[in-house]
Symmetry: D2
Subunit: 135 residues, 4 copies
């Protein structure tokens, strides 16, 4: 199991007139969580794309428990519970500054070889970096 | 069962560098679908809020089948399969211009009385307008 | 002088906790205005990109006179006052449902040949379609 | 003159299919720059709103020199060149990781007393914190 946390502040742009973070913007928080998780492993999604592999999202689930409010620093906890193959599954837990669990989410992404436009396995390098956390 | 469809074009702003509509933006398409569905019933979400009832989202699910591409006119089909009580459940089907089903989604929203900050039933008026479609 | 108007409704996603449309979202309204103006001339920005010409934005100005509010149908008036050369200048006037001028804006875009990565003239076809309005 | 810098990474959500950060998203970078500038002074825009003062934007100017690209860490430099009165003027300079100036911007905001719905002076406290930088 691999767990990584990132902190991210709610922008004014991300609130709506209910005073909550708009429900569609959590997907961006998940994205930042995923990308920073990769970076913590010494990888970057940017360089993965440059090497010819993109990772489109197959599904997204969010459960909204409490609202994320303007200017709150949200902790985005990202969990990989299973070593990826062609697909990779992420779970998310968001906590506000009081430590309340405010949101949980899940996404499945697929590795796609751009040239062949076909699903593919992630690089050996990526798998090796992850494997350390799965004994 | 109540079904309503709205057409919506993918903006450049909504694409990402993969050339797809960003996965977080489907939530906005669902929102527009819901709001236009209400309008087709002679209701407006705006006036509901002005009358003291807001509708926060409790959960969101999206399944991405094919990408929505820039400038495509997407048909957002919204389905209410069950008369709402304190909660209301929406299903979404998105179709591109070729008629392909590209995305399916679901959201649950809750009616909240702002003054009491408690879940509440939707207005009689709203229920009556919906009931016609559920025999 | 070429003038074209498009109507566009403010989404919940586009509001902020002030209850106004967020100031960064007007740029999207301008984009939709520009694209629909092109479509009214029988052109599409999408096909322009497919033919190898992109149009990055060089500058943007917005003046916020009154807020655009949730669910208001905004009229986006786009004005081309001068035939384009390598650059094209657009002016925008936004009106709310009461007919109040709520926002004025300007953008300059440049035609860029993707292959050569250099500024270029717009197509003869585009210029011919525009010229009719400039006598 | 008061100068403050914040670093901010371009999200995938913020790119468009041109591979650039979408031109409407710079306004969010300016917002984050302003808010972090306030925080560096021991103020918060959130508490200003809670005390009954909002700051709507009156005008916005952006000049796009080079694109901000996905995953680049952008330095947002915010400059207040003149002590505010009822209005406050901000200038922005954005730099990419190579140190290139990629974008310059300006915004004017107005302090508004929510109860009276009228422009007002900023708090003495805010002015005193700023004055130190203006001799």
């Amino acid at each position: 199991m691999f767990i990584h946390s990132t902190k991210l502040r709610v922008r004014y742009a991300e609130t709506d007139q209910m005073g909550y973070m708009y429900y569609g913007n959590y997907a961006q928080f998940y994205e930042v969580g995923r990308v920073e998780m990769l970076r913590s492993l010494g990888m970057s999604y940017k360089s993965m794309e440059e090497s010819g592999i993109i990772m489109p999202v197959l599904d997204l689930k969010c459960k909204f428990i409490k609202p994320a409010l303007y200017d709150e620093e949200i902790t985005v906890k990202v969990i990989i519970a299973k070593l990826p193959s062609v697909r990779i599954h992420f779970q998310y837990e968001l906590y506000n500054e009081s430590g309340d669990l405010i949101n949980i989410g899940e996404t499945t992404l697929v590795f796609v070889d751009i040239k062949r436009n076909k699903p593919c396995m992630p690089s050996e390098d990526f798998l090796n970096r992850l494997k350390i956390f799965f004994n």
